[in-house]
Amino acid sequence: MWEYTDKVKKYFTEPVNVGEILDPDGVGEVGSLACGDALKLTFKLDEQGRIADAKFQTFGCASAIASSSALTEMVKGMTLDEAEKLTNKDIADFLGGLPKEKMHCSVMGEEALQAAIRNYKGLEPLPSEEGEVVCQCFGVTDKEIEKVAQNNDLHTVEEITNFTKAGGGCGECQEKIQAILDRLWDTVPKQPVEVKPPAAKKKKLTNIQKMKLIEETLEREVRPALKADGGDIELIDIDGDKVLVSLRGRCSSCAASQATLGQFVQSKLREFVSEDLVVEEVKP
């Protein structure tokens, strides 16, 4: 069972703008039966060049239908310049988020919109067709992978599969995807995110600084990973270099929890806070 937001459920069960505009200004068709989802988007412009109406036809799962319907709502009233800037992330955000394995549904929405705008301009359906096909199973090109990776800050092959499906079929292209990511993130400087500069990590910290940094590291580096597996972690106390934590949810009953603590939590804290830290579990 998927954890869909109420908004996804609403746009799935009561989709708006279903259908096809018969004399459209732009038509975008992406996906295929073989891939398991497909979207046909049509729009009509008003005299000011704004999107007056948009309709969709979608073959796919609940999140594909919801993403398509949401897209048509979002673009109404936009100029083509505005619509061109709309990304898959905007669609997912509009819906209150999508399960990560379903992000490719929002990407399909973005691609259909781009294709429809290009159709209006008399261009080829997708700029990505200029690229080289990397994933033969789903016909995904290197250009598409790069674009989605940049727009969504994706760094792993698994994330790329979630967003584009590339690598999710036979899996043979996974090494190529990794190579694209390596190339992309080595050459493109990452957006400055507020991570403490590495040099600061190893500096002697005051107790207050150390506590704060431990809390931040658990929040940023550890908790999301545990939550993805249905668990959680709570900071109980810090006693010198000893960090006392308690595992919650699935983690607490998990036989692998000792390994979780030792290898994962401790290594993260040592990496970001101090080499001397020792993590111990307190049973709740």
């Binding site: 799935f12 069960t13 989709p15 279903v18 259908g19 096809e20 068709e29 039966l33 073989a34 891939c35 398991g36 989802d37 497909a38 979207l39 046909k40 969709f56 036809q57 979608t58 073959f59 796919g60 799962c61 609940a62 594909a64 239908i65 394995e101 379903k102 992000m103 490719h104 199973c137 789903f138 599969t161 979630n162 499906k165 999710g168 079929g169």
Partner: protein, 401 residues
């Protein structure tokens, strides 16, 4: 779920524990908590009850009680059979199985192949049937085991397992069958067959989850998978899961007495459901209609996607399942339907209904009242449906598997 009527037609996924089964188990959570291996009477009386359950399971299968080993689930039984066949015949490094096995066998065999063992995955035809000559041809000098499921979980297609066992016996090769979907639904008399090992799972026949059985024919070379104590005559270590064993015994007894009912009443309901569903345009049944479990139907609704159908069904309280997963982890629709060459138009929109003795005429009516509307709504949305209607082209052909 609050008060909404639930129509449960997903019994190949799991079944309701029968009330009689639950009642039989309860005392073993309470006063009869002894360890069957203990030397005192308090434990010994529990051991006697475990023996009774073993007898009940043996009777359902037409086996001897000492050929029954209790495990934790069907998957453990399957793994035990595969590993034992390899461990007991160290010179033999080849396994024969099919492309349509349950992941308990399929993924385990793929893992063995990655470790350097050789595995032959046999094809099926468009009806989901195996070619028996191909089975015989696949067997080699170094074949340790042939493992073929008795009935398919997705389509319900039944393989001629006793005949395959004969082929293997004639060549002196061990034969294992994953009979998780078959036990309780088709008559099984192991004494009259050459089957070496058979796996079953309690929760598919109205016992609870967490209990399974591996049948090991007398004289079959065997190496335990879970090692430790001497329980189960040294064939499966670990203190017996007594309440669940008692429950499975009761479920086996019920299955034996209810088998005819399953074959008539449940089949009649299934057939009526299937006939009704096929009234919807552009639908088809997957799997050989004449060689199927009496409770299962896999119907493909073309040009719509399975998850969407399931969610609409679920909102009407109807529980079924789909061969299509639509997750980026497994984007390929059902490996079973693809192995049969079912076209993508149909594979993505396949829905499996699997019934049980607890289903009623009213349940079937409820599904038939809702399904056409759901399919209609989704097809109005589907770009392919519009194209199909414009061209009225015939259903795309099967891809030769």
């Amino acid at each position: 779920m609050s008060g909404q009527r639930v129509v449960y037609m997903d019994n190949n996924a799991t079944t309701q524990a029968a009330p009689e089964v639950v009642a039989a188990m309860l005392p073993f959570f309470g006063e009869y908590y002894g360890n069957p291996s203990s030397m005192h009477n308090f434990g010994g009386q529990v051991g006697t009850k475990v023996d009774t359950a073993r007898g009940q399971v043996a009777q359902l299968l037409g086996a001897s009680p000492e050929e029954i080993v209790f495990t934790s689930c069907g998957t453990e039984s399957d793994n035990t059979a595969l590993m034992s066949a390899l461990a007991s015949q160290p010179g033999k490094r080849h396994i024969v199985t099919t492309r349509v096995e349950h992941p308990a066998v399929l993924n385990t065999c793929q893992g063995l192949a990655a470790q350097g063992y050789e595995v032959t995955f046999l094809k099926v035809d468009r009806n989901g049937n195996l070619d028996l000559e191909a089975v015989a041809e696949a067997i080699r000098e170094d074949t340790a085991l042939v493992s073929v499921m008795w009935a398919n979980n997705e389509t319900g297609v039944i393989f001629p397992v006793p005949e395959i066992a004969e082929i293997c016996a004639a060549k002196g090769v061990l034969f294992h069958t994953d009979a998780v979907q078959a036990v309780g639904k088709v008559p099984i008399d192991l004494a009259g067959t050459a089957i070496s090992m058979l796996a079953l799972s309690g929760h598919k026949l109205h016992a609870p989850k967490g209990i399974g059985v591996l049948y090991i024919r007398k004289g079959t070379p065997f190496v335990p998978f879970i090692k430790g104590g001497h329980q189960e005559h040294g064939r499966r270590a670990g203190t017996e899961n007594v309440p669940y064993i008692i429950g499975l015994g009761k479920a086996a007894e019920l299955a034996r007495t209810r088998m005819d009912q399953e074959n008539t009443q449940v089949k009649a309901l299934r057939d009526r459901l299937e006939t009704g569903l096929l009234q919807v345009e552009a639908t088809m049944v997957n799997g050989d209609p004449d060689r199927r479990l009496p409770n299962t139907t896999s119907v493909s609704f073309e040009y719509v996607e399975g998850e969407s159908i399931l969610l609409h069904l679920s909102s009407q309280g109807i529980c079924a399942s789909s061969g299509s997963a639509c997750t980026s982890g497994s984007l390929e629709p059902s490996h079973v339907l693809r192995a049969m060459g079912v076209p993508f138009t149909a594979a993505h929109g396949s829905i499996r209904f699997s019934l049980s003795v607890y289903n009623t005429e009213a349940d079937v009516d409820h599904v038939l009242a809702n399904m056409p509307g759901i399919i209609e709504r989704l097809r109005v949305m589907s770009p392919f449906w519009a194209k199909y209607q414009k061209t009225q082209c015939a259903t795309p052909g099967y891809v030769e598997p």
